[in-house]
Symmetry: C2
Subunit: 202 residues, 2 copies
């Protein structure tokens, strides 16, 4: 039992350390030594858990960090009360975290997504899978709010584009302006879509 826990602990530490470093500085800038130091792991542990080396670890870090971020955002969204308050909270929360971490904590997979898009097909597919999962999670919420599936899908795509673009711009400028404007834009966009929803009899 304690042996299992220890083995699992090392694997999880490798993944979370790698995900943090990839998110902040990217895949190429992050060496194996830095991942091992950050996760207090031996070289042999890395290849025990990830025989495919850095690429296999990166694929798992992308999926784990991407779905972890999705859960985090879904909790904020669903805890906000209604659809509009949820959308507002996501962007306000992102602006808050950016400022609180000196613009280091942002989308956990955007840097790596741009690095690998034209250079590593397996990792590109891992990032695409994560973004598609986010799109589906947002679409489901818009549909639950009475919006038609095709409009809901477009709102989801636009919301995630606004969020991702604002991460790039706010991190570059070290300013929350882009994230706050992106949030205002997303809220207005969803407000208009909701205004077109036909009221159901009750």
């Amino acid at each position: 039992m304690s042996e299992d826990t220890k083995v699992q602990g090392t694997r999880e530490r490798l993944v979370s350390t790698a995900a943090d470093l990839f998110g902040r500085q990217g895949l190429s800038a992050t060496g194996i030594k830095q991942i091992l130091a950050g996760s207090k792991a031996q070289f042999s542990s890395l290849y025990h858990h990830f025989p495919g080396g850095k690429d296999q670890l990166a694929a798992e870090a992308i999926r784990t960090a991407g779905l972890g971020y999705q859960q985090f955002v879904e909790e904020i969204w669903d805890g906000a009360g209604d659809l509009l308050a949820g959308v507002r909270s996501i962007f306000d929360g992102a602006a808050y975290v950016l400022e609180a971490t000196d613009y280091a904590d942002a989308c956990p997979i955007a840097t790596i997504a741009l690095e690998v898009a034209s250079t590593n097909e397996d990792l590109r597919l891992a990032t695409a899978e994560v973004f598609e999962s986010w799109n589906r999670a947002a679409t489901v919420r818009f549909v639950a709010g009475g919006i038609t599936p095709s409009v809901a899908r477009e709102l989801a795509v636009a919301l995630i584009a606004l969020l991702e673009g604002a991460f790039v711009l706010s991190r570059a400028a070290k300013s929350p302006e882009s994230m706050l404007v992106a949030g205002k834009t997303a809220v207005a966009m969803v407000e208009r879509a909701l205004a077109l929803v036909e009221p159901h009899g009750g």
Copy 2:
């Protein structure tokens, strides 16, 4: 004269090769050797033109590519006839170029912006300067369309966030969907802002 031309040619080739590689695969993945091979330059030329080495070359590549992209987009925008057609053309053009280049040619500085945001203050400032220049160029066009400066600034920020986010998502998915939805969203947003502009007597 021919000596000058040759010297300038090498410098420009170094900058444009570096900018292309940084845009497609990022700063960290791009080694000096790859830049020299791509620009058919010697190691000594690099340090002759850029005594500060890779970082100095990167700062110039960011500014040159960022302002080059701005000019490219401004020509598309201004050639489109009116403000709405201009906004539509930017996103349609980006979707076209993404598809035509197998999703390799996108924002020339987004990858590097995310890589350096928390790790290289000089290069972060270069990316911030480029994005701010884009913001000002878009704001000027919205103000010329009769939109108040504060709303124009927000439209510019939201437009660039949509564009940047869609580059991340479209490259990851190898699909134009996000870019096309981002364009539709940007056009709708500008349309509503224009509808609120008070008509001037004529």
